[in-house]
């Protein structure tokens, strides 16, 4: 069995609910890293794209303002969806060895009913999702899939003369701006006064900051005889794995906050006043997380029963911690592995099959 906390991804249901629903109906224990991408991606590629305005209406989980945005930015919606998939994949990678492993379930209400918790895990999911959207939109810009992007001077008003006079602004600016307007609108429409909305907005922004603050500056010299007399620099997006790593670190050091009224505005401040105040990049949460040990559907926790664990590890993926002291089964399983493979840079793998007997530990 997989353990899960109800993802606070209410607004993201549509991304998972529509054409790709089937791809997310994995049974327990199929999150093993080896096999995810192929099945997953193969299904997505064959799924239809969001190309008509009516599709926007059918998307589940969108609020009215998001439906309007969807209609106005149809070409971007595929990237939004891809961004969400990227986020979930990355989340599952980062949490593969933890009690809570970022799993999603097929039936939609699980996202909807128990989203009131403002836990660390929720903070991470919000951050990685908004980062994923910004990332995917920026990438789509560079591939030429979107027409607006950095050259659409009506959006940012960079330079009225346009591409021929001064080039385009960075695509990342567009990606981040789109993520801001599309993802944040959920919280803003609720009125940004509730502590939960403030937390979500903060974490959304922290996710985007994880990309923005880790842009790599690359330069090329091309002056006389290739000297650095003329040098052009640009910013390259970090790989999404890097964004995931950054956010995972922020997750480990997340700050517990509470809402306080300062003047007329409500702000989040650390619960423990001795702690350093959090920065824009840090994740914040309101409620402490459950231990994710036992099956408790009411709170949206499936428990670690049935999860694989590592017998020799003392960390969270070790059987001691993972199984919450309940002990574990050990089975001898024969696995078929690919070995002595020959690879090409793409799409060609020729392997022998090797059989190996391994010990598999499963939590009770």
């Amino acid at each position: 069995m997989q353990s899960w906390i109800s993802l606070p991804l209410n607004g993201w249901a549509f991304l998972l609910g529509l054409p790709i629903t089937s791809s997310l109906t994995w049974g327990p224990g199929r999150w093993g890293l080896c096999c995810v991408p192929h099945r997953y991606l193969a299904k997505i590629s064959s799924a239809g794209s969001i190309s008509e305005e009516e599709t926007c209406e059918k998307l589940k989980g969108l609020i009215q303002r998001q439906v309007q945005m969807c209609k106005r930015n149809l070409e971007v919606m595929d990237s939004v969806r891809r961004g969400a998939q990227l986020a979930i994949e990355e989340c599952q990678f980062q949490f593969r060895n933890r009690r809570w492993n970022c799993s999603t379930l097929e039936s939609l209400p699980v996202f909807g009913k128990v989203v009131t918790q403002g836990t660390r895990e929720a903070a991470f999911v919000y951050a990685i999702s908004s980062a994923g959207v910004a990332f995917a939109v920026t990438r789509a810009c560079s591939s030429g899939e979107l027409e607006k992007c950095g050259c659409d001077h009506t959006v940012h008003g960079v330079s009225p003369q346009g591409f021929q006079w001064s080039g385009c602004s960075d695509n990342i600016a567009y990606g981040v701006a789109f993520s801001q307007s599309f993802v944040d609108v959920r919280e803003r429409s609720k009125g940004a006064s509730s502590s939960r909305a403030l937390m979500n907005l903060h974490n959304n922004e922290a996710g985007r900051k994880a990309i923005l603050n880790h842009m790599r500056v690359e330069c090329k010299c091309h002056g006389v005889s290739g000297s650095c007399e003329v040098k052009t620099c640009w910013k390259a997006m970090p790989p999404f794995r890097k964004v995931g790593n950054v956010l995972k670190e922020k997750f480990d050091g997340a700050t517990e906050v509470e809402q306080r009224k300062i003047g007329s505005t409500k702000v989040l401040v650390p619960k423990n006043s001795q702690f350093k105040p959090h920065t824009d990049e840090d994740l914040v949460y309101l409620d402490s997380s459950p231990d994710f040990c036992d099956h408790d559907l009411k709170n949206g926790v499936l428990g670690t029963n049935g999860r694989h664990c590592n017998k020799t590890s003392k960390a969270i993926d070790g059987c001691e911690l993972m199984c919450c002291g309940r002990g574990f089964h050990t089975d001898e399983v024969e696995v078929v592995e690919r070995c002595s493979c020959k690879f090409h840079w793409c799409c060609f793998v020729k392997c022998k099959q090797c059989h190996r007997v391994v010990e598999m530990h499963t939590c009770r």
Binding site: H38, S45, C168, T232, C233, W234, C347
Partner: protein
């Protein structure tokens, strides 16, 4: 005739001239900072992974990443395994520019670099000294409907220089290698509106082509071009500067030919400096807007090289001719030791440039750095040029030191002179030092601005109003050296003042003789021998 204008000008007038030049300098700087956009723009592209379904791999077929007639694409290369697509069936397609934009001749050049996203896999790692072989074709068209025309096609190899920032264990699978970007393409004119790049990475196991290069996830490309706005401002500046320098050059030469004696070396070198400055200034780039002249980039390099060589030679000769010792120079050949390194250095850089940009005229994908021999050759050229430059600066510093030592020697004998002569001398030394100082200031400014523009972010913003440091650096420095040459030609032109006085007035004759020692050969009337006789007499006294 009593010498150059700088000697006969009053301090007040000198200040006025300096002030006017400073105003022009500030204007040149502001034009770049406020009007022009950044000098260059970098546009990131992500290659589309097109599938070449025809098994015979027609080379003539073009794959377009987006828009009408776009190719059948893979979103992720992982999909290919299930669909039984092989590496040889995949074509990376990049359309320059991005949708809704058009390239323009104002961009002057396009320079592309390639970036590979290679994921780490424990059993499919990048081998040491891995090389990637790219089969590239470049096509163009001028409207959105017509067929693509091939511009260039080449098979190029590039070294993969990658590091992995984490332990190579199973946990880090999927993380990308940190790879240096690969120099990819350079075209010297942008005569067409749309360009299309098709890149294949053919695998040939027997020949070991594209084997052991890891698992490529994506190919990214960065296209760099000069901004149209900057080009326009730059052309405007050149068009304005050409006549200004040209006119002062004519005026300067007229003054020299009006004299009874033949021009001396310093006068000739200043004139040559003026010619090379005009050569740079002449805005032949205007033709690149109408004609498809790919050699413009190379030509620009050569013009700049000539000017730099001239400027460096001028400094040496300027110092040498103000040495105030008893050696006779006034001949280019007496400076062979100092000018030699300049000539060798310039030749090396010219050879390097011909090997890189010269070959690129034929094959835009060529890079001298791609092969080991090429890299060694290029490094050899650059190192020799570097050594020459160091040697040159040692010579120059030594000469400047000598000049200042001689000046201080002369200064110590100043108190013994009469008041009028002393004041006159002090003025001369001041003006000479002033010019030395200006040269140093110009050089220092260039270096400081260069470092500043490298360190600082491209532009600063105050509200609605943006200041582009990079552009300001280019226009400011370019304007500065123009003004420098202008000032040289103006201040070192022979003066008309006191013309005939020195012949009629016997007392002044001696006075002029002493003046000669400061500016030696420039000012002499009776030929160098007379001056040196006088100088020696003075020295004995």
């Amino acid at each position: 005739m009593a010498g150059a204008i700088i000697e006969n000008m009053s301090t007040k007038k000198l200040c006025i001239v300096g002030g006017i030049l400073l105003i022009f300098q500030v204007i040149a700087f502001l034009v770049g900072g406020l009007i022009a956009p950044d000098p260059t723009a970098a546009v990131p592209y992500m290659a589309a992974k097109c599938i070449d379904l025809q098994k015979n791999h027609h080379k003539t077929k073009w794959f377009i990443p987006w828009g009408p007639n776009q190719c059948d694409k893979l979103r992720y290369l992982d999909e290919a395994v299930n669909r039984q697509i092989e590496a040889n069936d995949i074509v990376f397609a990049i359309h320059i520019p991005l949708p809704k934009n058009e390239m323009s001749p104002w961009f002057q050049f396009i320079l592309c670099i390639l970036h590979m996203d290679i994921a780490f896999k424990t059993n499919n790692q990048i081998k040491e000294n891995a090389k990637v072989s790219l089969d590239v074709s470049l096509g163009y068209r001028d409207d959105t409907v017509s067929e693509w025309t091939e511009m260039a096609h080449a098979v190029e190899t590039r070294k993969l220089n990658c590091t992995f920032g984490a332990p190579k264990t199973v946990e880090h699978e999927g993380k990308f290698y940190d790879c240096d970007f690969l120099p990819f393409m350079e075209i010297g004119t942008v005569a067409h509106k749309y360009y299309l790049l098709n890149i294949r990475l053919p695998v040939n196991e027997k020949a070991g082509v594209n084997v052991g290069i890891g698992e490529i996830k994506d190919i990214r490309l960065v296209g760099i071009h000069q901004n149209g706005g900057f080009t326009k401002v730059w052309f405007a500046m050149k068009t304005f500067l050409t006549p200004s320098i040209f006119i002062i050059m004519i005026w300067y030469w007229k003054r020299i030919t009006q004299m009874t004696r033949p021009p001396v070396l310093l006068e000739k070198i200043i004139f040559a400096l003026g010619i090379s400055m005009t050569f740079i200034n002449i805005p032949v780039e205007w033709f690149s807007i109408g004609f498809d002249w790919t050699w413009m980039l190379l030509f620009g390099d050569i013009r700049q090289g000539i000017f730099y060589a001239m400027l460096l030679s001028f400094w040496i000769i300027f110092c040498g001719e103000h040495m105030m010792d008893q050696n006779e120079r006034n001949h280019f050949s007496s400076y062979w030791k100092q000018v030699g390194p300049i000539a060798i250095g310039s030749f090396c850089l010219f050879a390097f440039d011909m090997c890189e940009r010269g070959v690129q005229l034929k094959n835009p994908f060529y890079s001298i750095w791609a092969t080991d021999i090429g890299t060694e050759l290029a490094m050899a050229f650059i190192i020799v040029a570097g050594i020459c430059l160091c040697l040159y600066f040692l010579f120059l510093c030594f000469m400047v030191f000598q000049v200042f030592r001689n000046i201080s020697c002369k200064q110590s004998s100043l108190p013994a002179m009469s008041k009028v002569r002393r004041l006159h001398y002090e003025g001369l030394i001041f003006r000479f030092r002033f010019l030395m100082l200006i040269t140093l200031a110009c050089a220092a400014m260039t270096v400081i601005f260069f470092i500043f523009s490298q360190v600082t972010e491209g532009h600063w913003k105050w509200g609605d109003f943006t200041f582009h440091w990079n552009s300001a650096f280019f226009t400011g420095i370019y304007g500065m050296w123009n003004l420098y040459v202008f000032a040289l030609m103006f201040l070192y032109a022979p003066s008309h003042k006191n013309y005939g006085d020195d012949q009629s007035n016997g007392d002044l004759g001696v006075n002029t003789g002493e003046e000669f020692q400061l500016t030696t050969t420039i000012t002499h009337v009776d030929g160098p021998t007379q001056v040196y006789k006088l100088a020696r007499k003075e020295a004995h006294e």
